[in-house]
Amino acid sequence: MKRSGVRPTVGAVVRGLVAVAGLAVLGYGVHGLLGMPHATHPPQAARWLIGGLLLHDLVAFPVTAAVGFVLTRLVRAPYRAVVQGTLLASVSVALASLPLWRGYGGAPDNPSVDPLPYGRNLAIVLGAVWAVAAALIAMRALRARRGRRAAPDGS
């Protein structure tokens, strides 16, 4: 069972080299981060790094799973996928522009930073997204009805 006789393949060697390169690159990054403490403020950076991880693993995922569970109770099967996908898209769009529509950031003396009515704009974008979702749901409903009519004994 010992592998002493097995010669590593080219693929294994390449993977080994990629791993070594990855380790070197990672080490370079850590070294750089710790080497400029005035700019990077390592304890702060570490808090944000670990904080993001914990926020995702202990909050974002469980909340998403809970929402998914609720959806299984609220929305019937052929339409649920549309609602799930649309929710994913909505949350992504909202996160990508979070500081904007929340009114964070910007500079008081510089009206060209974050200059738009983002709350209204987000509502427009999400409205359009959900309009597409509603159209998809309607199409599915129509198809289901046609299917039932075509095969009345179907279900």
Partner: protein, 465 residues
Amino acid sequence: MRVLPERLPRPPAIPRRGPLREDAFPSRLHDPRMAALLGIWLGVAFGVCFLTGLVSHFMQHPPSWLDWPARPVWLYRLTQGLHVATGLASIPLLLAKLWTVYPRLWEWPPVRSVAHALERLTIVPLVAGALFQLATGVANIAQWYRFRFFFTVTHYWVAWITIGALLLHIAAKVTVVRANVGRGRAGRARDAGGPGSDQAEPEPEPEPEPEPEPEPEPEPEPEPEPEPGPEPKPKPKPDGPGSDGPRTGEPTGDAVDIDPRAAPDPAGTGLSRRGLGIAVGAAAGVITVTSAGQFVPGLASLDLLGPRRPDVGPQGLPVNRTAAAARVRTLARDPGYRLEVVGPRPYTLSLVELRAFGQHISTLPITCVEGWSADATWHGPRLRDLLDAAGIPAGATVRVESLESRGGYRASEVRPPHARDPLTLLATGLDGADLNLDHGYPARLIAPNRPGVLQTKWVHRVVML
């Protein structure tokens, strides 16, 4: 190295509760093919972000041997616009990817071998770094600074950490990807167990059960068929109609013997793999369409959720740092303003003389590191004419200094390709009018293919280095 794949003793049998339960994650999207496909796209996106980020970094901090070209004029606009747009589009990709692989966080036993432990350890910098880069990027383009570290430097170093962890992750997972993606993956899945193909691969081994039987051998050994054999529970018919491997969630690591595309998504249980792909693509598309107008000419009207509009600002052009923020309001409006050109034949010019020095027109984008850019028509004397008048040789680098008394961007170096480019101006006006104070009145540098922070404003000195 031998010790790496060595199997560690099993942890004591504890009741598996909560997320440790076998069937804790029923979504069929927690499956290796989905994870591999999303991983590829995310890898491409992060690769683009990393490379364009390096371009931006080394344009701002060029090593002595690297003179960036002044052409094409639009290069930095493209790379930096792409950097921000790709980062924003990565948000749904990353969320979906983390969703598919989350059950791995709770896999049991937590570590199977030293190699497996190391591989799991690399996930920490990978996920933390990826979330960090996207979050700080989103905050920075909105100029929202809740963190106390300096954005550019920290974002730069964490990029190296993230990419390093990504390379390690690729090395660890490439066999899983190959077994789940592309033509002939079924064959590769079978081979993956073959001798020598992936010695330290922790992945393709079957998820050990609460153990009624001897552990499946982790190392791909020369014994025939190591992997499907010991698989106790997923009905492992690769293409039988009943095989819905992905259904059970648990990406049991048996990536290798499932050909998930052969297993049609069971209808009506929620989002399918294809559905998730479409949703992620649609989300990325909506984000891109509603924000890319901040750097793509002609798309400004679609720019609903970008932090900048290329046509909003004084004189219809955005500003990053105002005269008030730079504390130059008084100095810049001083009628006694003089431009000093320091070289072999130094001289000074008043603003009137500077305007009379020669008026050239350049249409050049101002391109910010925050990803927005806007075209504008500038006028003023060519930098190279000013340098010639001072006897500064063509091969010389000059430093352009602002009236600002402090700050990292109060001066910038202009190397010969930019200093001698006929489009490079010491602009005194914009769109036929004098410069607005916030755009750098009385004079600013504007050069092609150059980050906005180096287009020094409120210029009062040009010094040969």
